[in-house]
Amino acid sequence: MNLEMFLKMQNELLLVVLLLAVLVGEIITSQKGKSKLINFTIIAFAIVTLIGFFHQPDGALFGGMFHTNSLIQLLKNGLNVGVLIILMQSAGWLKETLVKQNKSAEFFLLMFSSLIGLNFMISAGDFLMFYVALELSTLPVAALVAYNAYKRQSAEAGIKLILSATLASGLALFGISFLYGTTGAIYFDDMANLLQMSNLTILGLVFFFAGLSFKVSLVPFHFWTADVYEGAPINVTSYLSVISKGAAVFILTFILFNVFKAFSDIWKPMLYTVAIATMFVGNLFALRQQNLKRFLAFSSVAQAGFMLLGIINGGVLGAASVVYFVLVYMFSNLGAFGVVQAISHKTGKENMDDYNGLYRTNPMLSMVMMLGLFSLAGIPPVAGFFGKFFLFTAAAGKGYYILVFIAVVNATISLYYYLKVIRAMFLRQSENPIPYFKNDIFMKLGLATAAAGILILGLYSPLYEYVQSISNLIFN
């Protein structure tokens, strides 16, 4: 137990410390001190995030159960930044709603523990760690989803999430158990060496994949997504759609590339079909949504489908493009969600028609929304375009031209419904538009960060180059 070891899992440890601090703070602060506590927590978390950017040693712990490297570190930082943005965007909500209900601190506790879970998940080195981390990341979120007590939909969403999630993990476990049975190993590396092609393996692989696809919400394992997203508080929704999905996609990539390297002729066709299904279903469902949370839910399903195009490449290019896209997607989605959050917090309106004429009353919000949506749709020059382009390049690199074409067609469909929102905000007028309102400083910061990310991530190539270089180190 030396310092080195601490440094390797510094991020997690810091989060745990922060979590405890918040717990203590919760106990000692008076009722009116709560909003101060919130500010403190956010700032503290910002500091944690900053620390994450200092270099940390690579390597494994606990005999390989836990391992970290610069790519994982990058992703963790990404997750931190994402959560930070979410927290900033939800500060107002926390102060004005939750403090009254006296459960502001618990929000942090749950979210941080889920984040810790994700951190452990992406640096898991064996299936045990992976499973534990997965549950750790899921369960608190279920609580968060059901956070709006006295709101039926919230509770309903909570139930749907927890039950479906446990089913999924049950399935995954069943699969894992077979993998264990065939190899006798639970460490990724050993398993990678020991796995033989056999029916049990296939069963295990597919079930495991299904379990994880649940978190990534790939068709047909995605159904919970929309309902839960709609029912949950918005910041939780954005957490689900951005943070946990991002982490899940990464670990999926990682495991497929490392553990099941030899089985690519199984999982590539699998991804192929699932990707097509996901893109189409996600887009077609998003097409008629009125509630923006639900709308973004389905759009995020479709986005997950696009990510598979990167994974299917099965090489460095694929990994790099996926990680890069996850980062891009994070900022884009947070931009969009942030605006929805701000508006629904101030006016309680979440429907597309309520946004008619938004630009004329709140130009700034509309601009951020537009950036976010364009980025999601993959319109240059914002980051999404580059992200998508690289994903497509990755897929085309292995000769999946048809798949790429289908994907681009889907991108066009998605453009249609993203434009519907733009149309509401810019083209349409309304007799009672959402009135102009000022946002608190945290919300502004949150949106600004997201917007900046959307603009910079694409045009400023070194970011992608960095991702590419480090994934080069890891996946070769």
Binding site: P380, F385, V408, T412, L415, L419, R423, L427
Partner: protein
């Protein structure tokens, strides 16, 4: 900062400046200055180009600038220009400048309007100068997207529908294009050293089998924005709903991206595919030419008439490109230029007439020559130019195309050509119909008599567009020679 990159930087600066504009006055002044600068740069570019060639620089592209962007994928910021690029840029800059003048009194959200306009211009410039397929594609979409807002916000009639149709169709086309570009990329080198650079890709010979699949993909991807026959339907409704300046840019510049892209990418990089497929697309383009013209005869909305005539004229561009010889290609470029100026002029005039009479229905208008002589006379001139009267650009372009097309001996090409030639009659019919109904004859309504005369900014816009038409029409030699030289390296891949 090299002379070409300025064409991307200048508009961006303009947009940045526009962000701080308070009201209509400021925003239009800023954008006027911006577009004037671009115009000056464009004119300067001609002379710079001639000077460069005079120094004996015989490279395919001059003023090239190359910088690595995404190293790992070998995506580069590669720009360069040849004679064709130069003229296309001049066209774009003039149309943009005229567009600013025409929308001098834009009512609603002026700042945003000009911003979108300039962004569109940026995309167009970028598209013309970029030698890197990624860059090309990026600018292509940058040019298309503002159309949605421009039509959707400032348009008229069923604007939301047409804006959506236009955007989705063009984006769908770019879907094909993207696949094509990726295909080109991964066949750009036998040994993993892939590149997006057009000139580089041209050096390797892509296997015929691949070209057979790639060419139609890339061609259609570009040709949709060039209003290829079955995919032209976005353009009429788009034109009809768009505000004046936007119709000008749309028909004058945006639709040129199609022909230009076909020429630069599809034909240049996939010559074998081009030869293989030309017959098929020739049929489509000839249908487009005749069909567009015939459909225009029956229209009553002025904008529809010109939209269909655009379909016909641009069909001629694709037709000429598919004839695969130097002369016809030269004609295609000339036609692009001349159509750009003419259609922009037409839409400008239609806009002015519409502002005064609040109708675009030729049956309701009449005798305008009496009440707004200046605008009407220019309209007549534009009409004559568009039906290919000698002394105007249209004639030069069309004759070059026809003579070029006639160099193909076999029956198929001959028949296609002769069918194409018939368009000179049909065009005359619909142009004269419009002119006769709208400008001549007795004045239809009393209130027409108190139409305001053309204002100074309207006149400026008009002359900006009219003068190039006459210059090309009367002294085509130097222009066509410059273009001819620039075409040589491209045509050589065909032979």
């Amino acid at each position: 900062m090299d002379i070409l990159s300025l064409f991307i930087v200048a508009p961006i600066i303009t947009v940045a400046a526009l962000l701080f504009a308070k009201n209509l006055k400021q925003s239009r002044v800023i954008s006027l200055i911006g577009s004037l600068v671009q115009f000056a740069m464009a004119i300067n570019l001609i002379f710079a180009y001639l000077a460069e060639r005079a120094t004996g620089n015989t490279a395919i592209m001059v003023f090239t600038k190359s910088a690595v962007w995404f190293k790992s994928l070998n995506i580069r910021y590669d720009v360069g220009a040849d004679g064709i690029t130069v003229f296309m840029i001049v066209l774009a800059s003039i149309v943009v400048l005229a567009g600013v003048f025409i929308s001098w009194k834009i009512k609603d959200l002026p700042k945003e309007f000009f911003i979108s306009l300039i962004v569109l211009a940026t995309g167009v410039y970028g598209f013309f100068i970029s030698l890197d397929l990624f860059l090309l594609f990026l600018f292509f979409e940058v040019a298309v997207i503002p159309m949605y807002l421009l039509i959707g916000i400032w348009g008229s009639g069923p604007k939301e529908k047409s804006a959506m149709k236009l955007t989705i169709m063009l984006m769908g086309a770019s879907a094909l294009l993207l696949v094509g570009i990726l295909g080109l990329y991964f066949y750009s080198s036998p040994d993993g050293a892939y590149t997006f650079n057009i000139l580089e890709i041209a050096k390797v010979n892509i296997p015929a089998q691949v070209q057979h699949y790639l060419f139609p993909v890339v061609f259609i991807g570009f040709a949709v924005i060039g209003a290829l026959f079955p995919f032209h339907t976005w353009s009429p409704s788009g034109h009809a709903s768009a505000p004046t300046a936007v119709s000008m840019l749309h028909a004058g510049v945006l639709m040129k991206l199609g022909g230009y892209g076909v020429f630069r990418v599809a034909m240049y990089l996939l010559p074998i595919g081009a030869m293989e497929w030309s017959w098929f697309f020739i049929i489509l383009s000839v249908i487009g030419v005749v069909y567009g013209a015939l459909a225009a005869i029956k229209q009553t909305d002025l904008k529809y008439i010109n939209a269909y005539s655009s379909v016909s004229h641009l069909g001629l561009v694709l037709f000429a490109l598919l004839m695969l010889n130097k002369t016809s290609w030269n004609g295609a470029i000339l036609q692009s230029l001349s159509h750009g100026f003419m259609t922009a002029l037409f839409f400008a005039l239609i806009g002015m007439i519409y502002e005064r009479s609040h109708t675009r229905d030729v049956r309701e208008l009449g005798g305008l020559l009496k009440v707004i002589p200046f605008i009407s006379v220019i309209y007549v001139i534009a009409g004559l130019a568009s039906l290919g009267l000698p002394g105007f650009s249209g004639f030069v372009a069309e004759m070059t195309i026809f003579v070029g097309a006639f160099q193909n001996v076999d029956m198929f090409h001959r028949v296609a050509t002769i069918l194409g030639v018939t368009v000179i009659v049909i065009t005359a019919v619909y142009i004269l119909r419009a002119v006769g109904m709208m400008l001549m004859g007795p004045v239809k309504k009393e209130e027409y008599y108190n139409f305001p005369k053309a204002t100074w900014y309207e006149k400026t816009g008009i002359f900006l567009l009219l003068i190039p038409i006459i210059i090309i029409g009367t002294t085509p030699l130097w222009i066509s020679d410059i273009i001819m030289d620039s075409i040589k390296p491209f045509i050589e891949r065909m032979l």
